[in-house]
Amino acid sequence: MLTIATGNKAVAAAVKAAKPGVVAAYPITPQTEIVEQIADYVTDGDLESRYIPVESEHSAMAACIGASAGGVRTFTATSSHGLLYMHEMVHWAAGARLPIVMANVNRALGPGWNTWAEHTDAFSQRDTGWLQVFVGTVQEAYDATLMAFKIAEDERVLLPVMVNLDGFALSHIMQSLETVEIGDFLPPFHLPHAIDTENPCGYGPMTGPADYFRFRWDIERSMRDARGVIADVEREFAERFGRTYGPTEDYRCEDADVVVVAVGTLGKEAEVAIDRLRDEGIKAGSMRLRWFRPFPDLDLSGRDVVVIDRDYSFGFGGVVAHSIRSKTGIEPYSVIAGLGGQEVTYNDIADFVRNRRPGEETWFGVSDHV
């Protein structure tokens, strides 16, 4: 069905289609609309699910861990400080190999108190063992949430997936949305190590130095296998529903001399900048990074690269910039822009490209720095 919806409503619609048995969540701006909508679905009988309104995000993830370990598809949503508050359980969910799906509406961290878009919240969970995908449109928020369940639950993966969408910029914008009849796209939930009272086992017991590392390696092995699983699922999705996704969304990159790498809505806005630059005769392209974990292999050789980071790792640099540097060996022009919802237009992005200085870092809007 074709309609118009916010990013939050799109995520909720995808969750309804995925039919999780348990949703446990705590509201937080700008995510609240997701869990309110799911609560409405449950109340109205549109979704048969146990909705658990918990007292904190830590408990939300703990409830999802319990339910998932019990063999039930689970979903939660959070943002910013909520994500940080559940951090301990975020690690646990991956370590316990539970395919939980969580929407994270990317929002800056206080202080100062700020409810607008930034990616530092998600990147702070970089080493938890969660897969992370970042979306750029309302439609993609829906599609990526549906695919997240299938990817997480694949027995070659069995790791949780975080679907990231920009706070307000995407969570609250209304765009067109085509919902689908998913049919058997999502097979029934099956967790090989689900708690079985007929076959009692220990879960998360003391694991000594002789064994612990094996479990860590197993997570990494699954992360590596996840690349192929993601490609398979995205291919099947394209075949069934006609929309194609990949590790990046490349726009006019083929013959580009300079490529803008950005994440989320800034990656879409960059496409408008690229059109402007092309009109000026500048051979520019854009590469919107979708998957952050597992991090994809990128072909950027022989081009100038401008990375826009809506995040920062203090004392080091932009998280995406140093990921690109370490994966490709290219010294990008690193632009720190959009923190806490800072306004960044396609004209600004075009200026980043025109004024690029590969190997340097610039904080957009900081006059004594630029």
């Binding site: 118009i4 307000f168 910029a169 995407l170 209304m174 765009q175 408008v272 396609y346």
Partner: protein, 175 residues
Amino acid sequence: MYEIRIHSRGGQGGVTAAKLLALAAFRDGKHATACPFYGAERRGAPVVSFVRIDDQPIKVYSQIHEPDLVIVLDTSIMDVVDVLQGLKDGGTVLLNSAHPVAGCNGTCRHVDLTGIALAQNLVVAGSPILNTPVLGALAKMDIVTLPSALQAIREMFADERNVKAAEAAYEELKV
């Protein structure tokens, strides 16, 4: 791309007006996005919402700095906010007012949305509802078609008085 900025006060329905307008444009077969600029909202504070309409998919997420059309649901805002800021040459202004307003340059139209809402007794929590009648005015200005405007209203609101108010605004606005 046609870009619209809506000025209102928190609680007056400017955000919903943006959503209704985008939905109506979408029902016309256009691409449309609606996005409120969320600040520290509270009832009565000046707020802005943005609507973009185009034949092509819309990739712009930043705010609208050079609108083709400015809608002002509460003209008292004009004392504290420069609602005409960045208005394109030849751009249009639509004011909720029974009378012309001094200082509004360019193509300036006005319609008494508050009076229309009160005549239909469209009042919630003491405030007249402006976001449904304004759709009728926008249909008269050919921003969206009238059938799509009315369909959008019916999709979001069950109360037919909203449709009547939109039809009244369509009749009353002089173009």
